[in-house]
Symmetry: C2
Subunit: 205 residues, 2 copies
């Protein structure tokens, strides 16, 4: 019926997400976005309403890709719970295994930058947080049921601590902290879940 777009909207959102991720909301200008997405201001505003709405789109895209990927990785473990948790946490902060420090987590960065001032943003960050919590809960619950974790493990409390640890690790990732220290943190956090399952006692001799 009319002239078609010369750009892919999804790809544009993905690139915008990347820019917000690295620089944060306030430090990213509309002109920065236009340059990154190869969009003129008119196209950008016609497609995405305004900067704030585009940021909400970016948060949604992040949740649909990064957050969803993290959730799946944790759910489809196929290995002992402790190992699965350890590998997952290492993977979370280990994307920064390259040269320069990773950008951390867009959700964490956004939560600290904008706090509770923006309700539309807060709703999305809280939803993302809840996804992580429930994924951790499922894994721990499975471990408790199949005997890999202590039966008297306080599930609520363990989830809260692991979730909080994830946030702290994300902050430290963005701050460029030594990956080895983050690995130490992860190992100790898992140890805190209680004694490992008793190995079948080897016959003594």
């Amino acid at each position: 019926m009319a002239r078609p777009r010369q750009f892919d909207e999804q790809e544009a959102v993905a690139q915008a997400t990347d820019l917000f991720w690295r620089r944060g909301y306030n430090a990213t200008s509309v002109r920065d976005l236009g340059a990154e997405l190869h969009l003129t201001p008119s196209s950008l505003y016609r497609t995405f309403e305004d900067k704030h709405t585009l940021f909400l789109r970016a948060l949604d895209h992040y949740r649909a890709t990064e957050s969803a990927q993290a959730r799946e990785r944790l759910a489809t473990a196929g290995q002992p719970v402790r190992d699965a948790l350890r590998d997952w946490l290492l993977w979370l902060v280990g994307c920064a295994a390259g040269t320069e420090p990773g950008p951390g987590c867009l959700v964490v960065n956004t939560a600290t930058e904008l706090g509770t001032t923006d309700t539309e943003v807060s709703a999305r960050t809280e939803a993302a947080f809840e996804v992580t919590r429930s994924a951790l809960r499922s894994l721990l619950d499975e471990g408790r049921r199949n005997g890999e974790l202590p039966t008297d493990l306080d599930l609520d409390a363990a989830v809260e601590l692991l979730f909080t640890t994830v946030l702290g690790l994300r902050v430290r990732e963005r701050a460029g902290h030594d990956p080895h220290r983050l690995a130490t943190t992860i190992d100790f956090a898992i140890r805190g879940l209680g004694p490992a399952p008793t190995e079948p006692v080897r016959s003594e001799r």
Copy 2:
């Protein structure tokens, strides 16, 4: 020798710190600062060079007050290590016991907002982080020596986890999370330090 100031420089820095704390670096304009400190732009720039330098002053002031106070509170405990640690963590996130969520921690907010892009800022946030780590280390080491904590406690790892937990709690405080859940997190983190000291065995009968 000349006309004296009509404002207290330290108090101005304190007010600037408060504003940066609540709003973040990028979202705080020089005019906002001028209004808050009751300073005209000329006075502000003559006294504090520029916005970035004032922000560095604010970070230093925060470390000299808030961070220093936190360190002292942890050092001058005078109670069992676990109780001291618990009270300290509750106090850290419990300033937000009022109506609206607290502003979190200026150092954490800054670290996530600016990442590693600003070396002068990073140097200060890392220094603040190290203060917290060493304070935690001293406390845990004391607890290990006097038998309140397991003698085989991995000090390095425990410090890393507690420090990471503090960062996570700060994020959650700023995100306005339920204080009760934060308390749950804190209790479980302390439980993870190992079994409590064995009570003197009561005579059985």
